[in-house]
């Protein structure tokens, strides 16, 4: 109960108070907000935007899907995956191969791509989801790199040179396809967040040992969350392969993108629905509109800076910080301070977003 004594902190507090009010307004109005967003987004292509604008906005939707998927396992469940792009690559390659070599229609190819990504997630998840924190992160990065290497060494994937796809849908169709995937995923995640399943994921994030002691076989829940993340990431990868008209191992299993989607989720506010989407729009918008144009080649530097700044200054991200502030106001409003025992004032964690390493109680 003691972090803001500085002058100037008043200003920050004022901003946070205002933001908390905005947050309270939107809290519980998720579906309405999403509906407005969907309508506005659906109208944009009718206003005759340039090809570049269409591409960038489509990419925003794509990264929204990737960041929201990452957040299912990384934010909601507390397992920071550096391997989500493996699902993307599998989805992209499956679609590309099915469409090009087997002449299968796109929609069917997406279904197969998603199924393969989910199956892969189930198989890998049972192995790597036993690890926590940094160990999990490293293991998943290993999965991503191994997948990339395997793809490079196979014939059916076209080796290092990849696959070129010529007959693809129009830009407008892609725009609506990615928008649809994003909206669908947002609805699914929004719904799940209110269910017992969503609560259990959060419980695992906060204290997995406690969740086990309360009767949850956490393996099932973690694996299900990971598979759901793989589903949407795989579908997005499938759509992206056609959108990009080209897949190769470096871009389909893109480690830089994996860092990018983590940065987006953290910046926006992991563990929320709107946070990762806002983070994706903001960060990718910044990269495409500013960095690529004026600071070409500095993209990864900016990303790194964003990750470092976010983790230090705002570990809960923008939405998470506002949410936290709203919760604090709620606490003091109800006399929480008076009710608190003076001796043990605030053992509460200081609000770091780091993954809690919760082993069993020591004997």
């Amino acid at each position: 109960m003691s972090t803001t004594n500085d002058t100037g902190a008043d200003i920050v507090d004022g901003i946070l108070d205002a933001a908390a009010s905005v947050y309270r307004f939107f809290e519980g109005r998720g579906l309405q907000t999403l509906a407005v967003f969907t309508i506005v987004s659906a109208i944009i292509p009718l206003t005759n935007p340039s090809g570049f604008e269409m591409t960038v906005i489509t990419e925003l939707f794509l990264f929204g899907v990737l960041a929201l998927s990452w957040d299912l396992i990384g934010g909601q469940t507390g397992y920071p995956s550096f391997g989500n792009m493996a699902f993307f690559g599998i989805g992209a390659y499956t679609t590309a191969i099915l469409v090009k070599s087997f002449g299968i229609a796109f929609p069917l190819a997406f279904v197969v791509a998603a199924a393969l990504a989910v199956a892969f997630a189930a198989f890998i998840g049972i192995i790597v989801l036993r690890l926590r924190g940094g160990y999990f992160a490293i293991a998943t990065l290993g999965v991503l790199l191994a997948s990339q290497q395997i793809t490079r060494n196979l014939d059916v994937t076209g080796g290092a040179s990849g696959i070129i796809l010529l007959q693809t849908p129009t830009a407008q169709e892609f725009y609506y396809l990615f928008l649809a995937i994003l909206v669908l995923e947002a609805i699914v995640v929004m719904y799940l967040a209110q269910t017992r399943f969503g609560l259990v994921l959060n419980a695992i994030r906060d204290d997995e040992g406690k969740a086990t002691a309360m009767g949850y076989n956490t393996t099932y829940y973690k694996t299900a969350a990971w598979m759901l993340a793989a589903l949407f990431t795989g579908v997005a990868g499938g759509a992206w392969s056609l959108f990009n008209t080209f897949v190769d191992p470096i871009t389909a299993y893109n480690t830089a993108w994996n860092v990018e989607i983590i940065a987006m989720a953290l910046l926006g506010g992991s563990g929320t629905v709107v946070g990762p989407i806002l983070g994706a729009f903001g960060l990718h918008g910044l990269i495409r509109m500013v960095i690529d144009t004026y600071f070409t080649g500095w993209q990864l530097v900016v990303l790194g800076a964003v990750v470092i700044t976010t983790v230090i200054a705002m570990p809960k991200g923008i939405v998470g910080t506002i949410e936290e502030h709203a919760s604090a106001m709620e606490y003091y409003k109800h006399g929480g301070q008076a009710a608190a025992d003076s001796s043990d004032a605030d053992v509460a964690d200081p609000g770091d977003g780091t993954v809690d390493d919760s082993g069993g109680d020591s004997p």
């Binding site: 799940l192 209110q194 269910t195 017992r196 399943f197 609560l199 259990v200 959060n202 419980a203 994030r205 906060d206 204290d207 040992g209 406690k210 969740a211 086990t212 002691a213 309360m214 009767g215 949850y216 076989n217 956490t218 563990g271 936290e324 919760s327 604090a328 709620e330 606490y331 109800h334 006399g335 929480g336 009710a339 608190a340 025992d341 001796s343 043990d344 004032a345 605030d346 053992v347 509460a348 964690d349 609000g351 919760s358 069993g360 109680d361 004997p363």
Partner: protein, 248 residues
């Protein structure tokens, strides 16, 4: 009502390398009792809890719960059977709200069909009832990690009750609680015991507290059970005094 104790350990032993933390402990808890488990630091009380709840595998001996051998069952399976524990270092889900902490613990919604549904109205009612009982109703929407240690302790107790346990293992419920609150805590524990028929086994260092609340007390020292009896008997037991005063 069965004549068998609801919870029994029979010769439970746990070793860590050369150290025997729990040594051949027999413990009976009858249905409806409040049983205290006391002993000096390092006596093996928490380790025994861990062996009972499956977070550690016992090296020898058996644990029987409701007439069923649950030795070395999975921790989550034991909890689902109705043997729920609380932790010495209070553990709540810090980033979730107080209400969410309770809802996620609700036994009402345990079925597979409820997994992908919103918490049931029964669970919500139960949660609000408990919050009222422990006087935290106003904090329902506050992040649990923001509350004081004492409040978190009460929340953890309420979470355990949400899980509708037959037996509740409490590891130092009075530890770190404001002394003026101890009376309330005793009342909560008694209410759970009488109204909700929860059998309670609790570890406690606060002697006044445990003598007041427990029907029967078991004493551990150096991993072994050295005494068992009513609070009055324990207070005058030579072996217990020796263990606490360090006399050999």
């Amino acid at each position: 009502m069965s004549l068998e104790p609801i919870l029994r350990t029979d010769g439970v032993t746990k070793r860590f390398g050369g150290l025997t933390a729990v040594d051949d402990v027999d413990l009976d808890v009858e249905r409806g009792e409040i049983v205290g488990l006391i002993g000096p630091n390092g006596a093996g009380k928490s380790t025994l809890f861990n062996c009972i709840t499956g977070s550690l595998d016992a090296d020898e001996g058996t644990v029987t719960f409701e007439g069923q051998d649950i030795t070395n069952w999975s921790e989550d399976g034991i909890a689902r059977m109705g043997l729920v524990r609380m932790f010495q270092h209070t553990r709540v889900y810090g980033d979730m709200t107080v209400l969410e902490n309770l809802l996620v613990s609700a036994a009402e919604d345990r079925g597979l069909g409820n997994t992908f549904a919103r918490p049931s109205s029964e669970a919500e009612e139960h949660a609000h009832e408990l919050l009222e009982t422990i006087d935290l109703e106003g904090l329902a929407d506050v992040r649990a990690g923001r509350m004081s240690f004492g409040q978190q302790k009460l929340l953890e107790f309420a979470m355990a009750l949400m899980a509708d346990p037959d037996v509740l293992l409490m590891d130092e419920p009075a530890g770190g609680i404001n002394p003026s609150m101890l009376g309330n805590l005793i009342e909560y524990i008694r209410d759970a015991n009488t109204d909700q028929e929860v059998t309670i086994l609790l570890i406690e260092h606060n002697m006044d507290f445990v003598m007041e609340v427990a029907d029967r007390i078991n004493v551990l020292a150096h991993g072994e059970k050295i005494a068992e009896g009513t609070p009055e008997e324990i207070q005058t037991d030579e072996r217990v005094l020796d263990a606490y005063l360090g006399r050999e």
